[in-house]
Symmetry: C2
Subunit: 149 residues, 2 copies
DNA sequence: AAAGTATTGAAACAAAATTTCAATAAGGTA
DNA sequence: TACCTTATTGAAATTTTGTTTCAATACTTT
């Protein structure tokens, strides 16, 4: 086991400091809430959760903070659906792929060693530096297939 | 070699008919233009190409036609960037994955047998019906890595 | 404490995508 | 062919997502 470099809070604070930015309470509250959501989420859901907890953080701040969290590798864009992006926190989770049902919209996660292999080999062969990979299967889940969907 | 079921035009016409819709000249012109674009494209680019050829087809019609082309498997959403979706025609092309450079925005295609294997095995194991798969590597290309990007 | 600068929320703005609606055209029937 | 029914179209309005502006404020350094 490798020792993890620290909590998401530490990582984010260090990242923010290293960029010469300011570690504000709004940024930390957004980060904390994202790591309380153990599911895929969108900006609206995050905003409403914060509001319901009494935080008065604007959507503008959420939209400004998300790219920072993505840049430092704590959060990922997962998929674009219904006209907006869906995210997830990834720090502390193993890489995984997604199956999305086009009918009921259910999203399932799964792991497969080979996906990282493919990416690693591509990076090796073409000399690119990988920031992230994304593998999605879109189709109809066992419940929905054959139905009217 | 399997005999292909027909040209993209035939496939689209049959699909439209089977759905009880009407095969209009606008829909065919959009389809033809998409299969003239041998690259990833977005709605605006497609619209301008049509206009430059003298076709007066509205963006509304493009936005209405794209989901039909996707539904019948001729076209795919490739990636969402700069606030809008990017597409490609896929009929007649082997499945492929994409590398996208986060700095110069270059997009490279590559094939890997294993990706379809992973999807096939997932489908088998969980009884889902695959409509499409998508594999992306995001990172920095050999030119951009190390640079200011 | 003062100066300098990044961040914030609110509102204005920009852009993407969808919807509305009257005119038109496709496709079926006589 | 002429006629009928109904889906489709373009243009404009609308909705929604995401970005930018800007004055107030908070952080950081001197
Ligand atoms: Mn996930
Ligand atoms: Mn491609
Ligand atoms: Zn389903
Ligand atoms: Zn590059």
């Amino acid at each position: 086991m490798e020792k993890p470099p620290g909590s998401e809070i530490e990582i984010f604070r260090d990242f923010i400091k290293k960029k010469g930015l300011r570690y504000t309470s709004e940024r930390e509250i957004i980060l904390r809430e994202i790591f309380n959501i153990h599911d895929h989420f969108d900006v609206d859901e995050l905003y409403l959760r914060l509001r319901n907890k009494g935080h008065r953080i604007s959507k503008a701040s959420i939209y400004r903070t998300l790219p920072l969290l993505i840049e430092c590798g704590l959060v990922q864009e997962v998929y674009h659906e219904d006209g907006h992006m869906h995210y997830e926190h990834i720090y502390g989770h193993e890489p995984h792929a997604h199956f999305r049902c086009l009918s009921c919209r259910r999203v399932e996660e799964f792991k497969d060693q080979r996906l990282e292999e493919v990416a690693r080999e591509y990076a090796e062969k073409y000399g690119v530096e990988i920031k992230m990979t994304r593998f999605e299967i879109l189709g109809y889940c066992s419940t929905c297939r054959g139905g009217e969907g």
